[in-house]
């Protein structure tokens, strides 16, 4: 999410709102946002329903227990609510592709 924060200016300039989503609770997101200067909304999908609906639910093996969470994924959604670009897993960590896709759309529009 820090990498998205570094690019939030470019995304906003291309008429794009960044929304982070995870299964963290709002309190954890608040601490994380404050400590890292995150200015965009970090949304709590506590039960994982939205994450399941997008098909990126995963159980991670940590300390011999399975911890449910989201996979790393970025969806670029246009003003009509349609998915126009997406990256999953390691591709989704660097927001450069999303930034470029937004800037191309801005030029077209």
């Amino acid at each position: 999410m820090r990498s998205f924060q570094q690019n939030v200016g470019k995304l906003e300039a291309a008429d794009t709102q960044v929304l982070g989503v995870s299964m963290d609770n709002p309190f954890a997101n608040k601490v994380f946002a404050d400590e890292n200067g995150v200015t965009f909304p970090l949304l709590s999908d506590i039960g994982g329903n939205v994450i399941r609906e997008y098909g990126i639910y995963k159980e991670y093996d940590q300390f011999h227990t399975k911890i449910p969470a989201a996979r790393r994924a970025t969806y670029l959604i246009d003003t009509n609510g349609k998915v126009v670009a997406m990256q999953v897993d390691t591709d989704a960590v660097d927001p450069t592709k999303t930034v470029r896709a937004c800037e191309r759309r801005k030029l077209k529009g």
Partner: protein, 71 residues
């Protein structure tokens, strides 16, 4: 007997994908699909919906594993 076996075999192959689809999560959202709408609470307790941005802004929806992960 043979006919019953064939029918069973056919039923198995026809029904297994249906059963699997029901057990697994919903189909993955892909490019070109309508993004499923949602309302979730942000870090300040404010509800945010995907449809709030419809007709106004693009949305970069960034799913992350957990808040304090390194990237």
């Amino acid at each position: 007997m043979q006919r019953v076996s064939i029918a069973l075999l056919l039923a198995y192959f026809l029904l297994t994908p249906v059963a699997r689809a029901q057990i697994g999560s919903a189909p993955e959202v892909k490019v070109g699909d309508l993004a499923p709408d949602f309302t979730l609470v942000d870090q300040n307790g404010k509800p945010r919906s995907l449809h709030d941005y419809k007709g106004k802004k693009n949305v970069a929806l960034a799913f992350y594993v957990w808040a304090f992960s390194s990237d």
